[in-house]
């Protein structure tokens, strides 16, 4: 069977078709949920973040003009919601600041226990500043180009490259220290 395009589902959802909207959610919920886990380091927060993202997407669905891919637009909204979430959680910490090292929550271990690779990388990502973590997430897991990342994060392409370069050096250090 032919899969309906995102644009087709969006148009139907905009006209009030609930099933089309639910199909659109099911198409992207796993990506957004795992994005949330990697960005927040917590599956409960990831679930809350996912719900906020899809509510925000639905409210702004009429503003989606189809200039770029829906997935890129979706992750742009996810990033904004993630920043809001981050600021609510840590109001005194800037996006460029390195987060304070916290004890690993059981929920994260529970989620990541099935893969040592998952655990190692995601644990190291949690120690990156928010801005660098977002670039790593979008580049390695989202498979976006630097131009797309720059557009989604509202920064220049060179800044995105610079942040990834810095993030890689830090990730290397964190992973060496933790698993030496």
């Amino acid at each position: 069977m032919f899969e309906k395009s995102d644009e087709h589902l969006i148009q139907k959802a905009l006209s009030g078709n609930k099933r089309a909207w639910l199909n659109l959610i099911k198409r992207y919920e796993a990506q957004i949920y795992n994005y949330g886990i990697r960005m927040t380091g917590n599956n409960h927060d990831a679930l809350d973040l996912m719900q906020e993202v899809f509510i925000s997407v639905f409210r702004n669905l009429a503003n989606y003009r189809g200039d770029g891919s829906f997935r890129g637009w979706l992750f742009k909204i996810a990033h904004y919601r993630c920043i809001e979430f981050y600021r609510r959680k840590k109001p005194h910490q800037g996006l460029e600041d390195s987060p304070e090292i916290e004890s690993t929550e059981p929920s994260l271990e529970q989620v990541l226990a099935k893969s040592q690779h998952n655990h190692q990388l995601v644990e190291a990502m949690q120690r990156l500043p928010m801005s660098q973590k977002a670039v790593v997430e979008l580049k390695f897991f989202g498979q976006f180009t630097f131009d797309e990342i720059a557009e989604q994060l509202g920064i220049s392409s060179n800044t995105a490259k610079s942040q990834l370069y810095s993030a890689l050096a830090k990730l290397k250090t964190f992973m060496e220290v933790e698993y030496a």
Binding site: A13, G16, K18, W21, L22, I25, K26, E29, A30, Y33, N34, I37, N43, L47, M50, Q51, F54, I55, V57, F58, R59, V111, K114, S115, H117, N118, Q120, L121, V136, K139, F140, F141, T145, F146, N158, K161, S162, L164, Y165, L168, A169, L171, K172
Partner: protein, 223 residues
């Protein structure tokens, strides 16, 4: 192509956008710069880990709750209302400027445009002005009549007051005069009575002293 710095070179390699010259520069830097080589290795390692990443299953959640704003819009939220409102406003303006007029007489609807309304308006205005003028004239006459009556009443009252007051004064003056005359007469009577008594006394005294001895000289006094 311009020479790229480390960050740009790594980014171009990750995007697969290196040309031959840049590829040579990339390989040369990997061989000579250990730090850069470790960055490349880190990229490869991270890519592998990302590919091997086992995505967590999405727990069951209330997907329909995100559709809360997507309920069918109510009829009063119909998006065509603004356009309809504007169109009706324009229609109303056109009707006004075109002199549209509709009349219903004996079950017949008569619609007319461009009726010469200015002469009608002028006629109505003239009629109203004449009525206003007439009313004003009547009011002015009534006011003058009222004023005249008020003046007449005031004059009558003033005259009556003057007559009454002068009559009263005259009456009081005559009373005073009569009183004065009566007092004078009373005093005169007392004076004459005293004179007569005195005269009687003198006559009596002289008669006792020289009875019939000649002519009696009567004392004359002013008292």
């Amino acid at each position: 192509m311009p020479n790229l710095n480390e960050q740009q070179l790594l980014a171009a390699w990750m995007e697969g956008e290196l040309d031959d010259q840049q590829r040579q520069a990339f390989e040369q830097r990997c061989a000579q710069d250990e730090e850069f080589a470790q960055q490349v290795q880190m990229v490869n390692s991270t890519l592998l880990k990302a590919q091997d990443y086992q995505a967590a299953e999405v727990p069951n959640w209330d997907r329909a709750s995100t559709f809360e704003q997507g309920e069918q819009t109510k009829w009063w939220q119909w998006s065509g209302f603004p356009a309809l409102s504007t169109a009706l406003s324009i229609f109303a303006v056109v009707l006004v400027f075109s002199g549209f007029e509709a009349q219903v007489e004996n079950g017949q609807l008569t619609v007319s445009f461009n009726k010469n309304r200015s002469s009608d308006v002028q006629m109505i205005v003239d009629q109203r002005l004449a009525e206003f003028q007439q009313n004003q004239q009547l009011a002015m006459n009534a006011y003058a009549q009222s004023l005249r009556e008020q003046q007449l009443d005031a004059s009558t009252q003033l005259t009556n007051y003057l007559l009454a007051s002068s009559r009263q004064e005259r009456k009081e003056d005559f009373g005073e005069l009569i009183k004065f005359i009566n007092e004078q007469r009373s005093e005169d009577q007392i004076f004459y009575a005293r004179q007569l008594n005195q005269l009687q006394q003198e006559i009596f005294d002289s008669a006792n002293a020289q009875p019939w001895s000649g002519e009696a000289s009567l004392p004359v006094t002013n008292e």
